[in-house]
């Protein structure tokens, strides 16, 4: 038990620096959700049930644009496809766990906790190491729920004139800062953006996010293949 707690705390400490950007993200989510017309309880419910920043903001964005439920759900799925990768990477370290722990850990498998625990898993091999991911995940969970709640409260006082909805594209832009320096990523970014912008009015059911995402991902597949041939 003592060792589990020690590993848990290590997870908390390791993930903490990555929590700073989560604060404004959670506030923005809370404010916008109220602004769009979700009730405070629904807003809190999203953070508790979905517990994923990008998924929740895409849900808001498409919902406010009048997209159908099917399109919203599949867009959320598309955004989440990166979690398949995270799961695949950490699964080898979690294969001996009981099913209930696999379920708990899956709920907490978010970008930041994945990044930190994956580093930890590579260096440590004791049987309690999954508590690292548990600690990191819970830390993020507490911050996310708290900032969502504060955003809901703040939302009542923030005037519409501030144009806070602009924070949505800005937040996603900020999540891409590490990709702006890589040529293939830049090409993929531009293609996705252009397809979405020009397809916005023409792709049925507001499925422009999916069409743009798939087109851009195919482009990435082709470009990385060409790149390898030239090496």
């Amino acid at each position: 038990m003592k060792n589990k707690f020690r590993v848990f705390l290590k997870g908390v400490f390791d993930v903490s620096p990555l929590m700073i950007p989560v604060v404004p993200f959670g506030l923005i989510f809370g404010v916008l959700s109220i602004d769009i017309g979700f009730s405070p309880i629904e807003t809190m419910g999203m953070s508790l049930i979905i517990f994923g920043g990008a998924s929740q903001i895409i849900l808001l964005q498409l919902f406010s644009g009048g997209a159908s439920s099917l399109v919203i759900i599949s867009s959320v799925g598309a955004v989440n496809s990166r979690h398949l990768l995270y799961g695949a990477v950490v699964s080898e370290h979690l294969s001996d766990l009981k099913l209930i722990w696999k379920i708990v850990i899956s709920y907490f498998l978010i970008d930041q906790a994945f990044a930190r625990s994956n580093e930890y898993f590579k260096k440590n091999n004791d049987k309690d190491k999954y508590f690292h991911l548990f600690g990191g995940g819970i830390t993020c969970w507490v911050i996310w729920q708290t900032t969502t709640f504060l955003g809901i409260v703040l939302g009542a006082f923030i005037p519409e004139k501030l144009g806070l909805s602009f924070a949505v594209p800005l937040t996603f832009l900020a999540l891409l800062v590490n990709d702006f320096r890589k040529l293939i990523n830049v090409i993929v970014i531009i293609i996705s953006g252009l397809v979405a912008t020009f397809g916005f009015n023409y792709v049925p059911y507001k499925a422009y996010v999916i069409v743009a995402g798939v087109t851009a991902l195919l482009t990435a597949a082709i470009l990385t293949k060409l790149n390898k041939k030239n090496e």
Binding site: I50, G52, I73, N80, R82, Y86, F166, P169, S192
Partner: protein, 104 residues
């Protein structure tokens, strides 16, 4: 579909993408090639949210003139490339947007 049902479905699909690989995976199912392509998912999806929110107005028409969002997004992007910092990127974008709509 009611809002709650929508939220629950979105939560389920989010959970399932996280859970499926942990529960099912045989390690060899994911080769390096698939890993490499999946690493492009953020670059492929996020711009589909970013671009329309900047270049189109609420009714979906192009808004290229008198649009402070374009300049603010460019400033945020430059600050992001230089600083590699998420908070600095968001704050510089919002600050320049507010500067353009309230001061200029």
């Amino acid at each position: 579909m009611s809002n709650w049902l929508l939220i629950i479905y979105c939560g389920l699909i989010t959970f399932l993408t996280r859970f499926s690989m942990i529960a099912l995976l045989k390690k060899e199912m994911f080769n390096d090639r698939i890993r490499e392509i999946l690493s492009f998912v953020p670059s492929a999806i996020f711009p589909a949210i970013i671009f329309p929110a900047i270049f189109l107005d609420n009714s979906g028409d192009f808004q290229l003139e008198n649009n402070p969002k374009i300049m603010a997004a460019i400033i945020a992007m430059l600050i992001g490339i230089i600083s590699q910092n998420i908070i600095a990127t968001i704050i510089s974008g919002l600050a320049s947007y507010w500067f353009l709509i309230f001061m200029v």
